[in-house]
């Protein structure tokens, strides 16, 4: 048992901090967004790439730094602390790269890993469909083999960043034999989002923002070389990837700024002449937030430590995501309530406190506990995989 970060890790944290301080000082990148998909800057991603921090945890032979997941958490923690604009490289770094390294052909690795590493390609994930949310096996999108191509037809939804990504990572049905389990009937294919037949329709969310899209595939032709891993093995590949996706500190810190401004608000405001910080109820409310945050943060490091030991977290990642996203949702609720009416001023409003970030975060918060597995799906996993009860 040893909770110390290595000296190298501590130095690395300092290095990231210094880098971010300098980048922020340049004043040209959109720092401060409380939603990942809202903060896109290819230029900033290029800077991160120059530092070698895209692919930080990828093996060296694939152009990564070969560092650990804990190192990656350290970097991300610092990035999220200042809400750095990572959207351009985020999916590629977190999900696509590792997926290709695990399952991709040499061609795909050669084709895409350098692009991701150099911030030359932004990826969107195209898994969910109107009738397939938690139940991915219900996807209707098809990829039919025709000569040396797949012809893709269907409709995807909730595609974050679909409107700016160059590449799409698509889950499609490739086996139509009804006697075969659906779990062995899907494949993963990389699609150029500019291909003929791809139509993107924005979805405006309840925050009033365009972060999701519907994506339609109408006879989209993709070379067979863009199949990721084995044909009909897509489902299993995705499930492995999901555990990595769920493990991260991004699930805890998207609205980190709200925690900061809440504290600042309580420290600097009075009501009826009395400082808020002297009110026992407010102290307890804020401390509850702090306690939950620290407990969740520790758990994120735990999951990273499992990955660093070569273990694949499954119920642990589900548990981490559960507590982290519930925390984020609660934070936004507590902050709006504690700040009262000024907490309901939206970004851009006259008089808005802290740029309206608290209210904005409250509107984002229903999505926190849905993306990447709803809390309910995660609890099924925790019970079934972690406690071995009730599994089908």
């Amino acid at each position: 048992m040893d909770f110390k970060l290595t000296e190298k890790q501590q130095q690395f944290r300092e290095e990231v901090r210094d880098f971010l301080k300098a980048e922020m000082a340049r004043g040209i990148y959109p720092f401060g967004s409380i939603h990942l998909a809202g903060a896109l800057s290819r230029e900033f991603s290029k800077e991160v790439s120059r530092k070698g921090w895209i692919g930080l945890a990828w093996p060296k032979e694939h152009g990564g730094q070969g560092l650990g997941y804990t190192d990656r958490i350290i970097m991300l923690e610092e990035m999220f602390r200042v809400a750095a604009p990572m959207a351009y490289h985020y999916m590629g770094d977190r999900q696509v790269g590792p997926g290709l390294i695990h399952f991709g052909s040499d061609f795909l690795k050669r084709e895409f890993l350098p692009k991701i590493l150099n911030a030359d390609a932004c990826f969107a994930l195209l898994f969910s469909e109107p009738e397939a949310g938690s139940d991915l096996a219900n996807c209707k999108t098809t990829a039919v083999e025709e000569g040396d191509h797949f012809i893709i037809n269907g409709q995807k939804i909730w595609t974050s960043g679909g409107h700016y990504a160059e590449c799409g990572w698509v889950l499609a049905r490739t086996n139509f034999d009804p006697s075969i389990s659906k779990y062995n009937s899907f494949s993963e294919i990389i699609v150029d989002m500019k291909s003929p037949g791809v139509t993107i329709r924005p979805i405006i969310n309840i925050v009033g923002a365009h972060s999701f899209n519907e994506v339609f595939f109408d006879n989209v032709k993709v070379g067979k070389g863009y199949l990721v891993g084995k044909k009909d093995n897509g489902f299993r590949q995705i499930m492995t990837n999901l555990d990595y996706e769920r493990a991260g500190i991004d699930r805890l810190m998207q609205n980190y700024r709200v925690k900061e401004v809440l504290l600042e608000y309580v420290k600097t405001n009075k009501r009826n002449g009395r400082p808020l910080s002297g009110d026992t109820l407010i102290r307890d409310t804020v401390a509850k937030i702090e306690v939950e945050y620290e407990v969740a943060r520790l758990f994120v490091y735990y999951v990273a430590s499992l990955l660093d030991q070569g273990k694949i977290p499954s119920f642990e990642a589900a548990m981490g995501k559960t507590i982290c996203t519930l925390f984020e949702a609660k934070l936004a609720d507590v902050a709006t309530t504690l700040m009262g009416l000024p907490g309901l001023l939206m970004p851009g409003s006259p008089e808005a406190l802290f740029d309206g970030v608290v209210c904005e975060s409250y509107l984002w918060s229903p999505s926190y506990t849905l993306q990447g597995g709803t809390v309910e799906v995660l609890k099924n996993i925790i019970a079934q995989r972690g406690l071995k009860i009730g599994g089908k």
């Binding site: 969910s128 009738e131 397939a132 949310g133 938690s134 139940d135 219900n138 939804i157 909730w158 979805i203 405006i204 969310n205 309840i206 009033g208 999701f212 405001n269 009501r271 009826n272 002449g273 109820l281 949702a329 609720d333 709006t336 309530t337 700040m339 009262g340 009416l341 000024p342 907490g343 309901l344 001023l345 939206m346 851009g348 409003s349 006259p350 008089e351 808005a352 309206g356 209210c359 409250y362 509107l363 229903p366 999505s367 506990t369 849905l370 709803t374 809390v375 309910e376 609890k379």
Partner: protein, 376 residues
């Protein structure tokens, strides 16, 4: 005891629901939220034709002499419709305040217009901190000769930008009648600057009202000089209960939207409603909405009977405000991505719920009242 609506109340409910279904489709609601006016004048006109603005007021001021229960029903249906209107600010914040605390002259002059649906009116109560207390009032009125000059700022004033009249709560120093004094002022009076805020419920609802040497005279005082806060305190239970009823209507509709979704939405070969966890989450929503309904109407009934209801009104607002919010949280969890889109109606309720939780006192505020009533 009879917890059910009587025949008249059922008819009113039915009429109001049909009215809003017809006159306030969700397309209008969305439009209104992004409109700087913040309400639909044609709908307002129709509400006025139905006589709703006069429901709560004496016949001698052009009202219908109805009970508060009828007003409560309108609020429930308005909550269900989720449509922004200046009804609350005009009828409750201004009309009832005038009726309970205004002089005969002021009532004849202003209440008659309100009851007739001929004006929009509002109350400038809180300062920029948004805290409901005497100490946090942001306006100050000083007696100068035979008139007063008001300076300062009030915030979160609903519909000030379209109001014909604004009742202002201003601190008055010792020489001018120590305490808080209420003044009724024309919305367009000289020295008033109104800045609409963009809040969770829209771009034309709450406003900042800045006042610079706004000149008012004795005749514009509502109640006695220095005794304005007592008038506000008398009004408070009615405010709390009207908003509680709005919560009830909102949460019932949010629940209905969700139940329709879980019955329809198929995942893993079954409707979501087949999952026990989903059933229990729906049961939670139902418990919240049923308990809220009784708590709100119990208090509304007490008001309509003229009985003391400070505790019950505080209970209603504390309970219903948080319950509505909790219902929308469950609703989002169950409606997933679809519920997170602008297209789906749920968010209209989510936004109203958060606003109503805090409007005129959050749970902590009202529980503090309850604590006082049990002797703490």
């Amino acid at each position: 005891m009879d917890f059910n609506f009587n025949e008249d109340q059922r008819i009113l409910t039915d009429m109001a629901r049909k009215f809003f279904e017809k006159e306030a489709p969700k397309s209008l609601v969305r439009e209104t939220m992004h409109d700087r006016k913040g309400y639909s004048p044609p709908m307002w006109q129709k509400m006025s034709e139905l006589g709703w603005m006069g429901l709560a007021f004496d016949e001698k001021y052009g009202g219908y002499g109805g009970s508060f229960l009828e007003v409560a029903i309108i609020f429930e249906e308005m909550g269900r419709a989720a449509v922004p209107t200046p009804f609350f600010s005009t009828v409750i914040l201004s009309g009832l305040l005038l009726q309970d605390s205004g002089s005969e002259e002021l009532k004849r002059k202003h209440l008659t217009k309100i009851a007739g649906g001929e004006c929009i009116s509002t109350l400038a109560l809180v300062g920029k901190s948004g805290v409901y207390s005497k100490e946090e009032i942001g306006l100050e009125a000083k007696a100068v000769g035979d008139h007063y000059l008001i300076n300062g700022a009030a915030s979160f004033v609903p519909y000030a930008h379209v109001a014909d009249n604004i009742i202002c709560a201003a601190r008055t120093p010792p020489a001018s009648g120590e305490g808080v004094t209420l003044f009724i002022i024309a919305g367009k009076a000289e020295g008033i600057e109104i800045i609409p805020l963009k809040t969770i419920v829209g771009e034309g609802v709450d406003c900042v009202v800045n006042m610079r040497d706004v000149k008012v005279n004795q005749g514009q005082i509502l109640g006695e000089p220095g005794k304005g806060w007592e008038c506000i305190e008398r009004l408070w239970p009615k405010i709390a209960v009207a908003l509680s009823c709005k919560c009830v209507g909102g949460m019932k509709k949010a629940m209905e939207l969700t139940i329709a979704h879980v019955n329809e939405r198929v995942q893993f070969g079954k409707p979501l409603a087949a999952l026990q966890v989903v059933q229990h989450m729906c049961a939670e929503m139902f418990i919240k909405s049923e308990t809220s309904r009784h708590a709100a109407y119990h208090a509304a009934w007490l008001i309509s009977e003229g009985l003391d209801c400070e505790k019950e009104a505080a209970i209603a607002k504390a309970w219903c405000g948080e319950a509505f919010k909790d219902v929308t949280k469950i609703a989002h969890q169950l409606t997933g991505g679809i519920g997170f889109t602008e297209e789906f109606d749920l968010h209209l309720y989510t936004k109203n719920a958060k606003n109503l939780e805090l409007l005129f006192g959050d749970g902590v505020f009202h529980r503090n009242v309850v604590a006082g009533r049990v002797g703490l």
